[in-house]
Amino acid sequence: MDLTYSAAEEAFRAEAREWLAANVPGDLASGDTAAGFAQHLEWEKRLFEARWAVVSWPEAYGGRDASIWEWLIFEEEYYRAGAPMRVTQNGIFLLAPTLFEFGTPEQQDRILPRMAAAADLWCQGWSEPGAGSDLAATKSRAVRDEEAGGWRLTGQKTWTTRGAFCTHMFGLFRTDPESERHRGLTYFMVPLDAEGVTVRGFERLDGDEGFAEVFLEDAFIADDAAIGEVGEGWRVAMATTGSERGLTLRSPGRFLSAAERLAELARDNPRASAARVDRVARTWIEAEAYQQFTLAQVTAIAAGTSTGAQSSLNKLFWSELDIHLQETALDLLGPEAELDGPWSRGFLFALAGPIYAGTNEIQRNIVAERLLGLPRK
């Protein structure tokens, strides 16, 4: 056990803290609206220019070759500084790990630098009207176009976060029409300005136009749009869902800073009854527990152990912790909780946590079957 950071890591923290203190913008409009998205893009470009956009990536792609520990430190500092949510997150946290693992060097060189610079903006095309939790029910299909050297995509994706503002989408398509379930799927990247692609944004529960449906009608993509082998899409996609459920999407930094803000809200607050203080302490302890769990997990990752199904534990824990935090804050605010503000917005956002990235019911199945070894049937 050594729970201290090295001098170099502390220097990294100090540099990040200093830069963030000088550069974090004031309140931006929501990144899930057209106006707010533009403001967030400005911020992403500033992050990229200062090489803070993708700290863990190679320098050649705009990163700092930071270790996973430094990445954790950066995340802590980022949320401590109250910096904006990352509108680039589906690219940098979900697609990028897949590209690093399965992409060709050509794909990596072509796609990653533009992703880091927020020149290309990526959204995720997993869900379909008939395939939500049951992702293997994917029906959108890709038909071979031998002459043009590529594939023609037809189908519909939905609940695509920020789809209306993004330039590209990644998702699963059925390349083998005879196949069923997990077989015969291929992982493709689709430019949303391709002919035959129509994107329709629509409002989420929180009032932002953060969702989109993506309609594909014979849309052409070249062979180099496939990540991994044709027909191997499920295996490739699972690498991304691990990132989505686990650490890379929701590091402890954001919950530690939210727990601190909650404690601040409760201090000298006449509404802070003993029962509410107990809930503040409980959520604060949970955020701390997520931090300690993560330190142990990252130690294992740094030693070369894959987290595997453990990422489902992360997802269950952080999504429920987030709701506990926000609900406790609303109760401390009392009648003022309904006013538009950071806590009411945080609450509405947190409500999506147990649904996206695989519902918590699905995560509990995964925990029971893969971590506890209970029978599938």
Partner: protein, 340 residues
Amino acid sequence: MRFALTDDQAALRDAARELLSRECPPDAVRAAWPGAAADPGRVAAIWARLAEMGVLGAAVPEADGGLGLGACDLVPLLEEAGRVALPLPLVETAFVAAPLLAAADGQEELLERLVGGEAIIAAGLDGSGLVPFAGVAEALLVSDGPGAPIGLLAADAAEPVDSIDGARGLGRVDIAAATPLDLDPRERAAAWDRGVLGAAAQLIGLSRTLLALSQEYVKERRQFGVPIGSFQAVKHQLANALLALEFAAPMALRAAWSIDHGAATASRDVAAAKALASDAAEQVAATALQVHGAIAYTTEYDLHLFAKRVWASARTWGDAEWQRTQVAAALDLNPGKEMR
């Protein structure tokens, strides 16, 4: 940064696990209960093996003739004691009393007998006057509450009282009758923290056994023609139990590290660890009972030995809610009197 046991720490834990699983199977826990199966000799033999292993004096500073091991070394070992529901005060003797007697004046002889395995010392420092394992101890450490003066009593001063956990050897004492030990307030506070953390570690170990029993049972037990572990209603309860356990366990190690390194947050981390461990253990015990069904509601099946230890010990050394008041105070949170 490295959040993992060292090779030495893992080896100590593995040795303890090997010894305890051999010497303290469920039959040995039953031997600590009053009644026909009572066998004090068998229970005493476990203690003798622990003394031979050198565990009892492990936390005594090297300057006082001990191994000078820290909380990070002992917490994994105490978790193993929980795993087998050890019916003996290992936390209290090795982790609370041994360093405390080493710090107090004039207790050299008792300490020497403690290290040799001749003197078992139980403790009840939460101010209730109840002392678990008083029935097997020679001497008792008692106090009026966390941080209050700590006194020493002969174990025969304790009146035996019935606990829901018959293996606890619970006794009730008159705290005022104890002879106060001459201790620095920091030593008293540190002894409390070690006891709380040791209790948390045992609760985590107990939870691991309760979960493992349940995991195996629902794979075997068939109803409606299938293993009941294939039902989502069962799966999700066990997934929740694992979730609570997996997020409680690292906090205990963090608290151990904070104690060993004199961190300013040590007492707060210990309180957080016990709050999580108490809640997790109660949740795991309730889940274990439910997914087993009627078989768990018997004393023939072993599950009750572990579940009763959880119910009895989750509230000693400060229950979850009390621990959260300690965390809240450390965060400068004080409940307001006025309510709007």
